[in-house]
């Protein structure tokens, strides 16, 4: 019921919600800046925020260039992995037996450190080829996507299923009108996981070699040459892209499933 008053007090309420986070942000920056100066922390241990800021400005063009390159890899992997995960989930959820047999394997496969495959995939498609990073990202993203979608399609209220059967709904209608909408919140959870995983996956897989204009390569090179401020600036770029990616998914979720409790906020308790 609390959600009903929403919208009226929009701006001030939002400010109230985010104020503690903002205050903390400023406080941490200040402590970091002066702490580093006071304790005379070495550059290579932890550069001060102002130094990172300078590095950020100096390398802005290069950072945008490498950041965009890796973002494309992450996006490509996200799309391929999510599409494949959803497809397989729909295919297996169609047959109860198939999904019950395959789910334990999918869950087990999800606990395989996929990143270990990065060097192999590099060999397959070429170290410089963005496709090899996309494939790794896609595989990382695939399992959470598939597992969550199968869950959403199968964890349906039995009474709702009975209702659909009482009205002689066909299998297709049950899928489109009940299972699919039921799965949407689960799928958005997976999209959110996939959003952050895809950027991390792309950067990390670049560690095993990659195009010179990639963010991960930039970070390792700068760190290897003890230009840590530059490395930190690049880390912040990766983080910004990841957060943006996550927020976009959040926004789409808000538009797509406004009815779900995760969107309309905590239910009145």
């Amino acid at each position: 019921m609390a959600a009903q008053g929403k919208g009226l007090s929009g701006v001030s309420k939002q400010l109230h919600d985010y104020l503690p986070a903002l205050v903390l942000f400023v406080a941490v920056l200040l402590v970091w800046e002066f702490g580093v100066a006071l304790l005379e922390v070495q550059q290579f241990l932890l550069p001060a925020p102002s130094v990172i800021g300078d590095a950020f400005q100096e390398n802005l063009d290069r950072l945008i260039h490498v950041g965009w390159f890796t973002t494309k890899e992450a996006l490509g992997g996200f799309v391929i992995g999510c599409a494949a995960g959803i497809l397989v989930a729909f295919a297996t959820a169609r047959w109860t037996l198939a999904s019950e047999t395959l789910m334990p394997f999918a869950i087990a496969a999800n606990s395989v450190p996929i990143i270990a495959f990065a060097p192999i995939v590099n060999n397959w498609f070429g170290v410089d080829n963005p496709l090899s990073k996309m494939v790794i990202v896609a595989v990382i993203v695939f399992f959470p996507m598939m597992i969550n979608t199968v869950r959403g399609l199968t964890l349906v209220d039995p009474a709702a299923l009975e209702l659909m059967r009482a009205y002689a709904a066909s299998e297709v209608e049950i899928l489109t009108k009940l299972r699919f909408p039921n799965a949407l919140p689960y799928m958005f959870n997976a999209f959110k996981i996939a959003a952050t995983l895809s950027m991390i996956g792309a950067v990390v897989s670049e560690y095993f070699g990659g195009n010179r204009s990639a963010l991960g390569i930039f970070i390792t090179q700068e760190a290897a040459q003890f230009r840590f401020a530059n490395a930190w600036a690049a880390i912040i770029v990766a983080s910004i892209v990841g957060v943006t990616f996550y927020l976009v998914v959040l926004l789409v979720e808000r538009v797509t499933i406004p009815w779900h409790s995760s969107v309309r906020g905590e239910q009145a308790r």
Partner: protein
């Protein structure tokens, strides 16, 4: 009772239902059920919990299949009747889809029937008016109280203008006052639509107030122990609850329920 086969809306002929047959935890839910429901009747099924009331209702709706015997709805096998959408159903929980607005929830059965959009919207509006939910068309289920949600689910059950309405303890989760009001509303809807109703409940007052006939069931294995005919004039209202015939019927049901094994009043 002599029944005309053709006019029976629901007909059960020596029906048994055994769950988990052939496994370790075999349970006989229903035994030797014979039942005829004539058009326009309001038949309540009452009995101790776990006696198979809901199973009986689900047999009629072809949501479970009998182990033995035959279930006919409108003279055809229950399965065919379900595929023809011959009945509407209301569960104890409203079972509204949280992703659909109230009006879209009410429209669902019409959608499954392939009714055109304009037509089904008009029908849904009309029904929401009937259950006094006008103005809540665009609300989502979570914005409505429990009683309002259940009214919406009744509207949904009525959407296809069914000749038969199956209700499984529809007001079980509501408070006494809301329940009495809903009973009144359901009675009026029944009168106006002349629908046949099969109604599962564990409230004696509710059963007597609404029904033309009450089936009292025994504890597991569920059997129909006794049939109480309720000869209260229609339309019924607040005055009905004060009539002698009302008390007599209540007493009769209560006494038979006591005989049902496992019933603790």
């Amino acid at each position: 009772m002599i029944e005309d086969l053709q006019t029976a809306v629901v007909r059960l002929d020596d029906v048994d239902k055994v769950f988990n047959q052939g496994t370790g935890n075999e349970t006989v839910a229903l035994k030797n059920i014979d039942l005829d429901v004539r058009p326009g009747e309001f038949v309540s099924i009452i009995g101790p919990s776990g006696c198979g009331k809901s199973t009986l209702l689900r047999l009629v709706g072809d949501l479970v299949q009998p182990t033995q015997g035959e279930v006919l709805v409108n003279g055809k096998p229950a399965r065919q009747a379900r595929l023809d959408q011959d009945y509407g159903i209301v569960f104890q929980a409203p079972v509204l889809f949280e992703w659909r607005s109230i009006i879209n929830n009410v429209q669902l059965p019409l959608e499954l029937r392939g009714v055109k959009k304009a037509q089904r919207t008009a029908r849904a509006r009309e029904l929401l008016g009937m259950v006094e939910l006008s103005g809540f068309e665009q609300h989502y289920p979570w914005q409505l109280s429990g009683g309002m949600q259940q009214r919406a689910s009744i509207a949904r059950a009525l959407a296809i203008q069914p000749e038969l309405l199956l209700m499984d303890e529809p007001f079980g989760a509501l408070d006494e006052m809301t329940r009495e009001r809903m009973n009144m509303e359901l009675h009026n809807i029944w009168r106006r639509t002349e629908t046949t109703v099969l109604f599962v409940t564990h409230s004696i007052a509710e059963a007597v107030f609404l029904s033309t006939r009450i089936l009292v069931m025994s504890a597991r294995p569920g059997q129909i122990m006794h049939v109480v005919d309720v000869d209260l004039p229609v339309p019924r209202g607040e005055h009905t609850r004060e009539e002698t015939a009302y008390f007599e019927a209540e007493t009769e049901v209560r006494e038979w329920l006591r005989k049902a094994k496992g019933y603790r009043a």
